[in-house]
């Protein structure tokens, strides 16, 4: 049992968001930054994402996940961030006292500021209630990605994938390259959940069929999966009669979404968004609890790691500022999502700085605009050639635009 440790900034999670937040918190002058990671390595999901497409915004080239991660791992090491590996946070209080467990035992860290960067975990079969028996051979796509790309384990020879999330699509390609047969991908929604680029390079390149408005209605097999029955669904997700089709397979992969790891945030009683399932934050990524910040996938699910990095860098700088001065810009202007948008983040801004807003639309749209309005006046109109729910939109609004905000309220909506 160690004595209580003190840190200016403690970062919970050593994935892409945690790494970027830690590096920038140290860069912004925080003397002691501790990054806590429960795995034996930092890098998080990037370690298993051996495919490319990371870094196009930050580095202007498409890197693989491990290459992208290595850059930030080097950066936190060069800047002198302390990394506590194989360490799990068991409790976090509003006073920013963190209890951790590791091979050393139980320790406590008193932090000046805390950054929540715990990321997401995958939705499992239980979470979506797939009917049928309980044979071996049903996996989440990310778990299989870890087995194949980190642990060198194969899971099956003939695969059906339920859900067209990006990890499922990437795994369809990965399994074909490793010699498995991918029978098909079934998606319950009428449109793919993954990005368009992955439909092209992971499915079309290998002639893998994608069945939309289709789901698994039965899993066959006692000891091991022997097949699945798929059926089409109607607009209310009910099974359409007469559309059942049986497919032989020994493996079913689930790529049915991500759940932010918000247990710590929930225990703290942070104000949460029912849409993103992450904390409500202001322009400093400051939550409703003083000195507690949130960024990365635990805040909102990102499809582009670069955006998680950029968000986390801002968060790290703000956390260092809070730890050193106790002062942050007063975010009195509230931002709300209007017609066409599921959410807009951040929820509050000061109006003193330019802001990178992130948002997602309800549905696919072409040649529309995202419009920032206050008191009936347009502050900023941005043309959007193409929008889809699977693609997070990130737009910058310059601080000059916030001069004419009325009643401290801004609404963001989609218009023609």
């Amino acid at each position: 049992m160690g004595d209580r440790e003190f840190a200016d900034v403690a970062i919970i999670g050593g994935g892409p968001a945690g790494l970027a937040a830690a590096a920038e918190a140290k860069g912004a002058g925080a003397k002691r930054v501790i990054m806590i990671e429960r795995d034996e390595r930092v890098g998080g999901i990037l370690n298993q994402q051996v495919h490319d497409g990371f870094g196009t915004k930050v580095f202007k080239e498409a890197l693989t996940g491990p290459e992208y991660s290595a850059i930030y791992e080097d950066r936190v090491n060069e800047r002198g961030v302390e990394t506590w590996l194989k360490t799990t946070v068991t409790e976090l209080t509003k006073d920013r006292l963190i209890t951790v467990r590791s091979e050393r035992g139980v320790e406590k860290i008193q932090a000046g500021a805390v950054v929540l960067a715990m990321g997401c975990r995958e939705r499992t079969r239980g979470a979506i209630g797939t009917p049928g028996t309980r044979p071996a051979g049903v996996y989440t796509a990310g778990a299989v990605q870890y087995y194949m790309n980190v642990s060198n384990l194969a899971v099956g020879r003939k695969v059906v994938i339920l859900g067209s999330g990006d990890i499922g699509l990437i795994m369809a390609r990965r399994m074909v390259l490793e010699g498995a047969e991918v029978v098909c991908v079934a998606e319950i929604l009428p449109q793919p959940s993954g990005i368009a680029g992955n439909i092209v390079r992971c499915l079309e390149d290998f002639d893998i069929p994608l069945y939309l408005s289709t789901t698994v209605v039965e899993i066959h097999g006692k000891e091991r999966v022997t097949g699945v029955t798929l059926a089409e669904v109607g607009p209310k997700m009910g099974e359409k009669k007469g559309t059942r089709r049986y497919f032989d397979c020994d493996t079913l992969l689930l790529s049915v979404g991500l759940i932010p790891e918000t247990e710590l945030a929930n225990e703290l009683g942070l104000t949460m968004s029912p849409v993103t399932n992450g904390a409500i934050v202001d322009e400093s990524f400051h939550t409703s609890a003083p000195g507690i910040f949130s960024c990365g996938n635990v805040l909102q699910v990102h499809d582009v790691v670069d955006y998680a990095t950029l968000e986390a860098e801002k968060t790290g700088i703000a956390a260092a500022r809070y730890a050193l001065t106790g002062d942050l810009p007063e975010a009195k202007i509230s931002i709300s999502a209007g017609a066409g948008l599921r959410y807009v983040l951040p929820a509050n801004i000061s109006g003193e700085d330019s802001i990178d807003f992130t948002m997602r639309p309800w549905k696919e749209e072409h040649d529309k605009s995202v419009v920032f309005k206050s008191g009936g006046e347009v502050l900023r109109r941005l043309k959007m050639p193409h929008m889809e729910p699977a693609g997070m939109i990130r737009v910058r609004v310059g601080k000059g635009r916030f001069k004419h905000v009325e009643n401290n309220e801004i609404t963001v909506e989609v218009e023609d």
Binding site: T64, P66, E67, L177, P385
Partner: protein, 121 residues
Amino acid sequence: MKSTIICIVCPVSCPVDVEWTKEDGVLGIKNHLCKLAGPYVESELFDPRRLLTTSIPVDSGDWPLVSVKSDPPIPKNMMLEAMDEITGVRVKAPIKVGDVLMTDILGTGCDIVATRNVKKV
């Protein structure tokens, strides 16, 4: 000719409208958000290539596998053949990002390059 090609360089997946002919190549593109779309669209029309990413077992490393990529991207129709070449190869730690592990795979001029640091243990 007019085509729409989804740019796969980054996750934004711009649906790029391209005007082109066999003789003169790409005449113009629109609907893209960055400069990486131009070279991609040109390549996709006349010499489609993909970055092949996979992993190779490592002996005495702190990871059991080293992740790798083809450098430069290999012709799209040779991906599975290249995988056959890579299967069975083993390498020894230590390995640094950028180390060339196989050269000129299938005579394509593409090397297989490490994308992860693997320490010797």
